[in-house]
């Protein structure tokens, strides 16, 4: 009866695509590389946005909005940043279409409507924002500027995967301006920590906080802080980044401020972002072969109830109890859906909500009703229990909390089991393929060695963990001295 779905074991990549499709999260559009985020997927993204937005505001940031287009001359002002993104830029060159003289009803680009200067569809907004901050900043009194923007960005990608790598994606980008290096560094770290806390407390996804190596740093940054999560195939996913931009953009756009002593200096900057990529991370952290698994704190529907009935009378009696329960649960801030759709059988509904990762599913039939019982199933462990209807709301509240922490613990256990300390490069090369996971290894700190490892194994340095033990060692490749282990992994 049940349709056969691909398991993680069989084909991890196909499994991922099926989860996205079965849970009705998103799909490819007819625009190359761009996705359509469907209502259920978007509802999860909205939950993420809501929590993150509150965290940004708590830490003193305001939202604003800057243009989607960046004139080429502004885009190229910060050379490293421009160079880093030049190869993936969508470019607007014309501002008008006109009727095709050769084919009625068709349109062509009007050659007379060519822009004097091409516009880049923002791949990131440092350039347009720092060009604007220039007008806002004269003195230390104008600082700090703590602004965030929720927006779409475009980075032309040839090989795309829904949520993980798409030509257009949704994100937030924070852009702050400070009067001192120390303050900007503090902001960079604060926002990386905000991301880490969000990942752990809401996504139930443990992350490693750390520093990117030179070669993995954001184009135009002095330092990139990041959070790295382990997916169920052992690969790493960079889930958020926070950049200390130094004075690079201030210099590129000539943004100076007068300090309290009347001296002029360039302004210090940070930028930080997370994107719809987090949806991919969420999917790959918890989901199983039966479908999506969602942590309750980000589930659009936390509890679904399915009536089991034959007669209309039964349905009426069940509905009455369910409406009482709905009111109690909603009073506790729990999102609840009673699915009394008459066109679908209970078995179909069970499978549907399993695919969609609804954390708790209730089932109530006439016999339960007369016994004062109700069946409660949890998605994370796929177990169910029959409990007293009386007081079930308190049971559900506890269960949702338990599921949230259970998912985090399972993910932590998984990461623990797949975190490997390694000293031999031969072993490393063998095990990165056979076992996967994160490898803690010594590295001599050079780009050359990093490059060699990448070429030979496809693994990269995911980060230099902030909380690593200082441990004198020798690079597994060159034997040169190393002050501590870094995280190597294959990555998304």
């Amino acid at each position: 009866m049940a349709q056969k779905f691909t398991t993680r074991e069989e084909d991890y990549s196909k499994w991922y695509n099926e989860i996205v499709s079965r849970a009705d999260l998103a799909e490819h559009s007819d625009v190359k590389g761009c996705m359509v985020i469907k209502p259920y997927g978007y509802a999860i993204w909205e939950k993420m946005k809501e929590v993150l937005d509150a965290k940004f505001k708590e830490t003193g940031h305001s939202n604003a909005y800057f243009p989607v287009f960046i004139p080429k001359r502004l885009f190229e002002a910060e050379e490293k940043n421009a160079e880093g993104f030049a190869k993936e830029c969508a470019v607007v060159t014309h501002y008008r279409l006109k009727g095709d003289p050769n084919e009625k009803g068709k349109l062509i680009v009007d050659p007379e409507a060519k822009l004097e200067e091409e516009l880049i569809v923002r791949p990131t907004s440092e350039a347009i924002i720092w060009n604007t901050y220039k007008k806002w900043i004269q003195s230390y009194r104008d600082l700090p500027i703590l602004i965030n923007q929720w927006a779409n960005v475009v980075r032309w990608e040839m090989r795309t995967r829904i949520f993980l790598r798409t030509a257009e994606f949704l994100w937030q980008e924070g852009h702050t301006a400070h009067q001192s290096k120390a303050e900007a560094l503090e902001e960079t770290e604060q926002m990386n920590t905000v991301y880490a806390d969000f990942a752990e407390q809401f996504m139930a996804m443990p992350v490693i906080k750390g520093l990117k190596s030179d070669s993995e740093r954001f184009a135009g940054a002095e330092e990139t802080y990041c959070i790295e999560a382990m997916m169920q195939d052992g690969k790493a996913l960079q889930a958020g980044t926070s950049h200390f931009l130094g004075q690079n953009f201030a210099k590129a756009f000539d943004v100076k401020f007068t300090d309290k002593d009347g001296k002029k200096d360039y302004v210090w900057a940070t930028s930080w972002g997370v994107s719809t990529r987090l949806m991919g991370a969420l999917i790959m952290t918890h989901s199983d072969d039966a479908g999506l698994v969602l942590p309750p704190k980000l589930a659009p529907i936390q509890v679904v109830a399915v009536p089991i009935y034959k007669t209309n009378e039964d349905l009426l009696a069940i509905s009455e109890r369910m409406n009482e329960l709905a009111e109690k649960l909603r009073g506790k801030g729990i999102s609840f859906k009673f699915d009394d759709d008459d066109n679908r059988r209970p078995g179909w509904k069970f499978a549907e909500y399993e695919s969609k990762g609804v954390p708790v599913r209730l089932a109530l039939g006439p016999r339960d009703l007369s016994n004062g019982k109700i069946e409660v199933a949890r998605r994370d462990e796929k177990t169910k229990e029959v409990v007293d209807f009386e007081g079930v709301e308190a049971y559900i509240v506890n269960l949702l909390e338990e599921i949230q922490s259970n998912l985090l613990n399972k993910a932590l256990d998984f990461r623990e089991k797949n975190m490997r300390t390694i000293d031999s490069y031969e072993d490393f090369k063998e095990r990165i393929d056979s076992e996967g996971g994160f490898f803690l290894a010594h590295w001599d700190g050079t780009e050359a060695t990093e490059e060699k490892i990448k070429n030979e194994t496809k693994a990269t340095i995911r980060c230099i963990p902030f909380d690593r033990e200082e441990e004198q060692g020798v690079c597994m490749v060159t034997g040169k001295p190393s002050a501590g282990r870094v995280v190597f992994a294959k990555s998304y």
Copy 2:
């Protein structure tokens, strides 16, 4: 001492620009026609979004996200829609930049990265969405689809004004699919009513609900419903539109469904939107020569308190009372700011919050403190009172409600005074220039007459009001019969 600002009387247009700038709402960017929405302006837009989004969800809609780009061949599928927007399309033709061989550090568009098919930056999303709905709709069971999208759109404009007419703007666009004409018409009306209720209840802006004439209809629609508001210069501003699209897009994209009887038919559609244009409407409905005036329900800061002090001891004592009050007000859901910035004098702060339209301003000094009093000033009437500190929170709650309704009543009065019933075209021509306002006049229903009036007076038919009296009359221009009066005005 006070800077002299332009009054509405002196130069309405300049007054508007100054309000936008003094209240720190938005500014022109260095991207032609695109604006930067600054934090205070964006905070108002966020409030609007929050209320509207809740209203959309209450009426059964979900949010989703569709690509920012529309391939030209999809864009041109619905011919009238395509024709209507062709002249204002930003077109992406290339997907890569490369280093300029003639100038180090500069970039040029890579001629080898030309797209096979140009992409239009969405001016509206019917085309991409109906191309997607085609895959989602087979049977009546898949209907209705009730989706909304919050997004940026681009319509290339030569003459731009912040919020009112910009090349890029933010909006929401609802796109729904139905199995019957009646259901789609009901949706069209429902959403127009949602907009009208929002305008009146939250923006304190009265609107006329009505139907657009043929020439003012949305390109690709069968009918356009709208809400029209009167600005303080007597001009009309179209504040929201809701379109009955008939089967036009279903036919253009071949979207059919099987009904309960197994018969196939094209799907019926609606679309509806409001944009950051509402910010312009809000500004021009209430603001006065002293600055922005905001209805409390949309004010990012509803109450601001300014301490009047000389010594630190005074400030401490004032702060203590203000913190108590802050807690009480926030407990009632009122946003409160205590401005104890030591770098600014009270007079500067009073002017600042007046410019920014904060509905209620409190001032507390040592003498008030010892008398158990506090000064409460209201922005709408620019009056102030000294009241007992004890229980002032209840006073403030009432005052905010009073301000909200006072603003609506003032706007209603203004509209009433500037609504003119007219029968002679000679009078019309004279008075539309000398007095402005809305003119209720008979019209013969033809485009030719509408066109003549527009050419001769710059006035257009803003709408055929839904609640107009059926009144037999004769067209003021041609003398031909008319079944009722329509609203003529100059417009934004």
